[in-house]
C-alpha cells in the first residue's frame, strides 16, 4: 500500500467510526449486550440477510454479466427488476391470489408469474440493448451510461403508471405510488420445529423455497457459463472481443443473449422479492439496483462468483445494520463499504488483475 493510500484509509475509517459511527448506531457495548441477551435474534437476522442477499445477488449478476461483456453499467437494471415484481403481482391478481391462499393452489400462479416476469424483463432488456445502447456502442463511454439512466427513469415511470391501473388490476390497491402488498403465499411452517428442534429461530418453508430458487438460478447460470458453447462464447467475448470475433463468434448475438439472461434473472428476482417481503413499490428498483451494483463492485465487477458473494455480503450487512446499528443508516453503511472498496481494492474481492503478457 502506498503512503497516500494509508492516509486516506485512516481518514475514511476515522470518519466513519468516530464521526458517523455513533450517529449511525455504532455503539459497540450495546451491540455486544444485545447479542448476548438474545443470540437467536442474531441468527434470525443472519438468515434474513442471507435470503435478501441471495436476491440481491441475482440482480447483481445482471449488472456484472452486462459489464463483463460491454463494460456498461446498466443503471436501468434495478428498475427492470421492479417491473418484474409488478408483472408477478399482476399475474397473482389475474389468478385471484390473496394472502394465505392454500399453497397447492398457488403453485401454478407462481410458476406462471415466474415465466411472465422473467420473459417480460428479458424482452424489455433486449429491446433496451437494441434501441438505447447498441446505437451508442462506438460512442464515448459516458453516452450509453446516460442513456441507461434515461431508461431507468422510463422504467420507473412505467412502474408508476402500472401501479395506477387499479381499475384494471384491483390488486394494485389505491394510489399509484403507494407500496403494493404482494399476496403472502409461501407457507410459514417452521421447518426446525417440524423436525422436532425447539429454537427461538424460525426457519420456515417460505425461507427455504426462496433460498432454493435463488441458489438454483445461480447454480444454473454458473453451469451455463462454464459448460455450454453459448456460455463459453460469452466468456470469450468478455475476455477479448476481437479474439472472439476472430474465432467466429457472433458478438452481437452474444450481447443480445447476455441482456436476455440478465433480464430473465432480474424478473425472477422481482417475483422472489414479492413472495419474500410481500410488498413492492415502484421505487424499489432504485435502492435494490444500487445495492446490487455495490454487490457487483464488491465482488469484482465482471466476476460472476464475485457478484454472488458480494450480494450475500451486502444482504448480511444490511440485515445486521437494520438490527444492531440503525435501519435509517443502513444505506450509509452499505455505501460506506462501497467507498472503501473503490479506494482500496478497485478490482473487488475476487476481481482479477491479470496482467496481459506481451
Amino acid at each position: 500500500m502506498k503512503p497516500w493510500q494509508k492516509i486516506v484509509l485512516y481518514f475514511v475509517i476515522a470518519y466513519f467510526v468516530l464521526l458517523l459511527g455513533p450517529i449511525a448506531g455504532f455503539d459497540l457495548p450495546r451491540i455486544v449486550q444485545d447479542i448476548i441477551r438474545s443470540p437467536s435474534v442474531l441468527v434470525t437476522q443472519l438468515l434474513v440477510g442471507l435470503i435478501n442477499g441471495a436476491i440481491i445477488a441475482i440482480i447483481a449478476l445482471g449488472y456484472t454479466l452486462v459489464y463483463g461483456i460491454i463494460e456498461l453499467i446498466n443503471f436501468a437494471h434495478g428498475d427492470l427488476y421492479m417491473l418484474g415484481g409488478f408483472a408477478a403481482l399482476t399475474v397473482m391478481g389475474a389468478f385471484g391470489m390473496q394472502d394465505g391462499a392454500p399453497f397447492v393452489t398457488a403453485i401454478i400462479p407462481m410458476l406462471v408469474a415466474l415465466l411472465v416476469s422473467a420473459g417480460l424483463c428479458a424482452g424489455l432488456n433486449v429491446l433496451t440493448e437494441r434501441y438505447a445502447y447498441r446505437p451508442l456502442r462506438n460512442a464515448p463511454r459516458l453516452a450509453p451510461l446516460i442513456s441507461a439512466i434515461g431508461v431507468s427513469f422510463i422504467f420507473q415511470n412505467l412502474g408508476l403508471f402500472w401501479g395506477g391501473l387499479k381499475s384494471f388490476i384491483p390488486i394494485m390497491g389505491n394510489t399509484a405510488a403507494a407500496p403494493k402488498s404482494f399476496p403472502d403465499l409461501l407457507p410459514r411452517i417452521d421447518l426446525l420445529e417440524a423436525m422436532g428442534i425447539q429454537t427461538k429461530v424460525d426457519f420456515t418453508l417460505k425461507d427455504l423455497i426462496v433460498l432454493v430458487v435463488a441458489v438454483s438460478l445461480m447454480v444454473g447460470l454458473n453451469l451455463f457459463i462454464q459448460r455450454t458453447p453459448a456460455g463459453k462464447a460469452m466468456r470469450a467475448v468478455a475476455q477479448n472481443r476481437d479474439a472472439a470475433k476472430i474465432v467466429g463468434i457472433d458478438v452481437d448475438q452474444v450481447i443480445v443473449m447476455t441482456f436476455l439472461i440478465g433480464g430473465a434473472l432480474a424478473g425472477s428476482a422481482g417475483l422472489l422479492v414479492g413472495l419474500y417481503n410481500n410488498t413492492i413499490v415502484f421505487t424499489m428498483g432504485f435502492t435494490a439496483g444500487l445495492r446490487a451494483f455495490t454487490a457487483a463492485v464488491l465482488g469484482g465487477i465482471g466476476n460472476i462468483t464475485g457478484a454472488m458473494l458480494g450480494g450475500v455480503l451486502i444482504g448480511l450487512l444490511s440485515a445486521l445494520s437494520d438490527q444492531y446499528l440503525s435501519s435509517r443508516w443502513t444505506d450509509a453503511w452499505v455505501f460506506g463499504v462501497l467507498v472503501l472498496i473503490l479506494v482500496f481494492r478497485p478490482s473487488g474481492l475476487l476481481g482479477e488483475n491479470l496482467q496481459e503478457k506481451v
Partner: protein, 235 residues
C-alpha cells in the same frame, strides 16, 4: 485462392490502405513485409472482416468477402493468429483451443485436429489445464497459432508470430509454420522480421505506408538492393 483488388481501408479519416492488390494461390506461403505502421495488420484485419474496405474487392475462391461477416469468413475457411496473440487469458489452454473450433460441429474432426495441434505443439499438451494468461509469451504465441488451426482453415493468416520472442523460440515457431504449410495449409504471413519471413515464404510483398511498393518471389526480394537496405539491415 485469395485475391485483393485495389483495396482501400480507413481508420476514421486516416487512410491505412491505399489501394493494395495482392493474391495468394493454394498451397503457397506468401509474406507481407514492411515496417511498423505500413498497414500489414490492417490488411489482415480487412481480409478477416474486422475492418471493412471502403473500396475494392476481396475475393476468396471467387466469393467477395467485403460485406461478409467475420463468423461467415471463418466458416469459409480463413482463420487468423492475430497481432498480440489475443488468447483468452482466463480460459484454459484446452478451452482456448475449443474456442478456435467454435464454428465447427464435427466432433470427430475437432478431436483429430486437437491431436494434430498437440503433435505440432507438445508444450500445449503439457499446459492443457493451465489458464491462457499464465503462459509464457512463446507459449501464448503457440496457443494463438494452434487456436487458429482448430478452425481447420484453408487459409491461415499469421500476424507477427515472431514478435517479442527469444531467437531460439522464433526459429522453433518458424519451423512449425513450415510444417503447417507442408501439411497443406495456405499461409499469408505478416512479419517485421523480413529475413526470416523470406526464408519460409514462396513469394512476398513489400508494404510501405499503405501501398505495395515491391513484389516478387522470395529469392528475388532477398536479392533486391532496396529490400536488403531497408528490411534486411544491409548497408
Amino acid at each position: 485462392m485469395l485475391e485483393l483488388i485495389d483495396v482501400y481501408t480507413y481508420y476514421g479519416n486516416i487512410q491505412a490502405l491505399k489501394g493494395i492488390s495482392i493474391h495468394v494461390e493454394t498451397g503457397e506461403v506468401v509474406t507481407l513485409i514492411g515496417s511498423n505502421g505500413a498497414g500489414k495488420t490492417t490488411t489482415l484485419r480487412t481480409i478477416q472482416g474486422l475492418l471493412r474496405p471502403k473500396q475494392g474487392k476481396i475475393l476468396f475462391e471467387g466469393k467477395d468477402l467485403s460485406t461478409t461477416s467475420t463468423q461467415e469468413i471463418v466458416r469459409l475457411g480463413i482463420a487468423q493468429s492475430p497481432e498480440g496473440r489475443m488468447i483468452f487469458p482466463r480460459m484454459t489452454v484446452l478451452e482456448n483451443l475449443e474456442m478456435g473450433a467454435f464454428q465447427r460441429q464435427d466432433k470427430l474432426g475437432i478431436k483429430s485436429d486437437m491431436e494434430r495441434v498437440f503433435l505440432l505443439f507438445p508444450r500445449l499438451q503439457e499446459r492443457m489445464t493451465q489458464k491462457g494468461g499464465t503462459l509464457s509469451g512463446g507459449e501464448q504465441q503457440m496457443l494463438a497459432i494452434a487456436r487458429a488451426l482448430m478452425a481447420r482453415p484453408r487459409l491461415l493468416l499469421l500476424d507477427e508470430p515472431s514478435m517479442g520472442l527469444a531467437p531460439m523460440l522464433v526459429s522453433q515457431i518458424f519451423s512449425i509454420i513450415q510444417e503447417i504449410s507442408a501439411q497443406g495449409t495456405t499461409i499469408l504471413l505478416v512479419e517485421q522480421n523480413a529475413r526470416l519471413a523470406l526464408t519460409v515464404a514462396n513469394r512476398g510483398y513489400v508494404l510501405q505506408t499503405g501501398e505495395i511498393v515491391l513484389t516478387g518471389n522470395a529469392k528475388e526480394l532477398q536479392a533486391d538492393p532496396t529490400v536488403r537496405k531497408a528490411y534486411l539491415g544491409d548497408e
